[in-house]
């Protein structure tokens, strides 16, 4: 009976990614939801990974291309 209702933390964290794409069966959804209510640690995992994935989408770096490469490209374009 216990096996029927409860999933492990490993399974729960695995199912979280499927949940994002709406790819859970009704039963998986139910077991995951129950797990997240009972397990504060997995709930934290969900919040923190969402925080990371939300921010990574907007990641910006101050990177610039080497000037020599830029010149090379500009020259190439002019030859075309």
């Amino acid at each position: 009976m216990k096996q029927f209702f409860f999933i492990s933390c490993k399974q729960a964290t695995f199912l979280l990614s499927k949940k994002e794409e709406g790819k859970l069966t009704w039963m998986q959804w139910w077991r995951l939801s129950l797990h997240l209510v009972l397990c504060k640690v997995c709930k934290l995992f969900e919040i923190q990974t969402n925080f990371i994935t939300h921010h990574v989408a907007h990641q910006q770096v101050d990177a610039s291309m080497a000037d020599t490469k830029k010149q090379e490209i500009a020259e190439q374009l002019k030859q075309l």
Binding site: C9, F45, Q48, H55, V56, A63
Partner: protein, 187 residues
């Protein structure tokens, strides 16, 4: 100077850094990023006569660039082997598949990030992303930076869905753990 010369210089000075910064956080390798930007300019330049101007010039260049990035992942993905059953998460879960004490997520103080913290966050994130196994990294970038759904990613990288879900699961576990260890240390 003719118009063509002017336009070439203008394009490169206006868009090269923008496209490069976008590409390098996705592909990591600086040489690869430079090559992708170069190819982007060449394709765009050849097609500039046929470009109908529906999208802005910038968006049009970015669309080409994104396609080049995906092409790169496609080629690269097919040459990478997934570690299969090799469990890179050993030590994360115990034999009951519950969190081990040292791996269990701890509370983060992340209410709202100040600009300075944001900068730190992104540099730690970049470092942690680079630590991921290559295929995990690609899957993660495609899903969360390029917003491509899992079915499409499987097709591009020629991997099975079950392989995909394992990769994304591991990527998130590694990344979160790495962020907790390295970013919280700074906070």
């Amino acid at each position: 100077m003719n118009e063509k010369t002017l336009q070439a210089d203008y394009w490169v000075s206006k868009y090269a850094d923008m496209l490069y910064a976008y590409t390098v956080v996705r592909v990591t390798d600086t040489n690869v990023a430079e090559d992708i930007v170069q190819e982007t300019f060449l394709s765009a330049w050849k097609g500039r006569e046929t470009y109908n101007g529906d999208a802005s010039e910038k968006n049009w260049l970015f669309t080409i660039c994104k396609n080049k990035i995906i092409d790169y992942f496609r080629k690269k993905g097919n040459s990478l082997v997934s570690y299969g059953e090799f469990d890179t998460n050993s030590g994360v879960f115990d034999d009951q598949d519950h969190w081990t004490n040292e791996s269990a997520p701890k509370n983060w103080k992340t209410n709202d990030m100040q600009p300075v913290e944001r900068k730190e966050f992104y540099s730690v994130l970049e470092m942690c992303k680079q630590k991921l196994q290559q295929l995990q990294q690609q899957v993660f970038v495609m899903k969360y930076m390029e917003d491509i759904d899992s079915d499409e990613i499987c097709k591009v990288l020629n991997i099975t869905p079950s392989n995909y879900w394992v990769l994304i699961h591991r990527a998130k576990i590694q990344l979160r753990k790495c962020m907790e260890f390295n970013w919280m240390k700074l906070a």
